[in-house]
Amino acid sequence: MTTAATESTGTGDGISATTSSRATKVLGWLTLAGFAVLVALAFAWVPEDTRITEQGDVVGQFDAVRLMFVHVPSAILAYTGFGLTFLASLAYLRWRTDWWDMMAHASAEIGVLFGVLTLVTGSIWGRPTWQTWWEWGDVRLVTTLVMVLVFIGYLAVRRIPADVAVKARRSAVIALVGAVNIVIVNRSVDWWENRTLHQQSTLIARKIRDETLFTLSFSFAVGMVLFAWLLLHRFRTAYLQSQIEELEVDEALEERRAESNMQDGYP
């Protein structure tokens, strides 16, 4: 990295000015196409969720069930993002390379994005289904909220102007503590209310329709491609950012050197 910056001092040559590559273009188009298919499947193919009780009443989530194809993959992507941040932070503390630091930063940002999306879609789904926007008695809901808040704090630290190595080390410790904390928060909130409104293991119990199960699995796949696409772009943005900072430092050094040469009487 240092050599690349030295070669390109002052001009910016040698650094790709785009975050796009053939791989990301393929991933981007795959995401778009997958999304189009997902929308078609979710609205046209999957039937609305209804059951008829023994008394003959029609119950279920009706059209709200379709939100699941955004909500569940978002939650999985949020936890994937935070998990990746945790691993990258561990790796950073072990090897101390910028690569792992940027990876931790990029994945945390994507984690927060999908964490917020999870909370918003969950709220919208909860209104018709649970008759409330927010339910304090639900463990997963409250845990996810606290987790998003912890990582918003993490991103706040990342935005502070400070020495790169100092910031990277402190961010890594915050990410590790934050990830461990999720377990404690989860347990304590569980004991706090000791009840959950969330449906337990719908997938394992096979209480789910085949169309819904297929669409849900498909939405996981689309989500993963989207995640990879975002991660690549975000990582490359972080890399370009670090290159700009190095260039600026080099330029400042160059100016100071010119100044002192002038003062010493050497042109």
């Binding site: 630290v157 080390r169 402190r170 410790v173 304590s188 004991w191």
Partner: protein, 222 residues
């Protein structure tokens, strides 16, 4: 190592004794927050009595932010932190000492605020043993987590605003556990107070170990 930790804690507490910032500013702040809660919740004694445990602990957490911020601000002045680093004291001892000093301040604050809650919110204590143990365990938990996060933000330009954002979500389990234990001790809800004490002790233990282990890496460049 214990002797070094003892020295650090003694130093921090001596500074507090002499400057009286805690007594003259943090305690009045905490009492003011209690009064504001009373204004916010109406003149209804019954509501205040019911929610007294939660209000008490929210107040302690807010005041703890000030105490933690102050503990690290003192070290930054006049390059004291650098000299602490040069003194060759084991980082684990520094962590233990600072956490112990903050915990002692929190316990003093809890005692004063506890008297305030009894007087202003009209609560009666049913289980003194539980009250004391929960107060100590929660102080230890907030102090260990607070010392870790205090060191994390120390020396960064915007630490006053950063510490609350980072620390408050992390100590949420302490708020839950301590509130539940106090509800039991005050007899306002039939929660299993001693079980919640376990959560508080576990939290303090986890953050004690984590803080002690990572403190060296944080001190090294502070």
């Amino acid at each position: 190592m214990f002797r070094d930790a003892w020295l650090i804690a003694g130093k921090d507490l001596r500074i507090e004794m002499r400057s009286r910032v805690g007594l003259n500013q943090i305690v009045p702040f905490a009492v003011t927050v209690l009064v504001l809660f009373a204004f916010a919740l109406d003149t209804d004694q019954e509501a205040l009595r019911t929610y007294a445990p939660g209000l008490f602990w929210v107040t302690v957490l807010l005041a703890a932010l000030l105490a933690i911020g102050r503990s690290f601000a003192v070290d930054l002045a006049d390059g004291a932190a650098d000299r602490l680093l040069l003194s060759g004291i084991d980082p684990i001892a520094v962590f233990g000492g600072k956490a112990a000093a903050i915990a002692v301040q929190l316990v003093v604050l809890e005692v004063l605020l506890g008297a305030g809650v009894v007087l202003l919110f009209d609560v009666t204590v049913h289980r003194y043993g539980l009250l004391v143990c929960a107060g100590l365990a929660a102080a230890a938990g907030v102090a260990t987590a607070g010392t870790l996060y205090g060191a994390l933000v120390a020396g960064l330009g915007v630490r006053e605003t950063l510490l609350p954002v980072l620390l408050l979500p992390v100590v949420a389990p302490v708020l839950i556990g301590a509130t539940r234990a106090f509800q039991d001790a005050f007899g306002v809800a039939g929660a299993e107070g001693w079980a919640w004490l376990g959560l508080l002790a576990g939290f303090a233990a986890i953050y004690g170990v984590f803080g002690a282990l990572s403190y060296g890496a944080l001190l090294e460049e502070a």
